[in-house]
Symmetry: C2
């Protein structure tokens, strides 16, 4: 596991009319503030990689579909520098990943239907602090 | 329209690999604080009604499927007391509804696939401030 990356199992409340799935609460360990929230769709077999944020902390859940995530620690001096972490999140494996700044990440859509990431970020999107890196620079597993 | 209910068209960023859909930003008119966020699934033809919150402000988006919403103003003294408002939200009609406290609401799933509401609420769920009312008490349109 990468230091500072937090994986949290979330409560779900099944119901015949439709379940309720928790995402993030102000009391949660991974909550560091609210800046903005958005949904990122990823098509079947498509890969969005690589990206890291200099300042943003992300809180990611996958309420529909299935998405493969790859993370690489870019923080020099971190106990897990250059370590990798891979996980598949979905409605079935419903967990939240809290991603601190300076962690490189990419993700791939695994289902033919919709694959959706919900991100609740602690700051508003800013091109200055969001860095894109060529997809061929690292292997996506 | 019901006074204080805010309907906001949201930015979307189409992309071949998968689009990005904005949901809520700290700078938005409807943002009054972050308490918790969750997803509420609603099955095809199922209706969840009726409910109102004494204190919570909701920020609702529908990133997948289509959902019919009904709102009724329960605030005595409001300029729109007892007025109704109905709208269908979907990925195609992608807007955010900000729902202030004391607005009665219900919703119905319109698609056979998944219908999902994302709610970003300004306070944490509390049974004391959330009031359920029998589905037959008001007509769902």
């Amino acid at each position: 596991m990468i230091e500072g990356l937090i994986l949290t199992k979330l409560k779900t409340f099944p119901s015949e009319k439709g379940s309720v799935y928790q995402s993030l609460s102000v009391d949660d360990e991974g909550y560091v503030g609210f800046g903005e929230s958005y949904f990122s769709f990823i098509e079947y077999k498509a890969i969005k990689a690589w990206k890291f944020h200099k300042n943003m902390t992300l809180n990611l859940t996958v309420p529909i579909g299935a998405i493969r995530f790859n993370f690489i620690d870019l923080r020099e001096g971190s106990a897990t520098y250059k370590d990798r972490f891979e996980i598949t999140l979905s409605k079935e494996n419903y967990q939240r990943i809290t991603v601190p700044p300076m962690i490189l990440f990419g993700f791939k859509g695994l289902e033919k239907g919709s694959n959706i990431i919900s991100n609740i970020a602690d700051i508003i999107h800013d091109d200055e602090e969001c860095v894109n890196i060529d997809i061929d620079k690292y292997e996506f597993k």
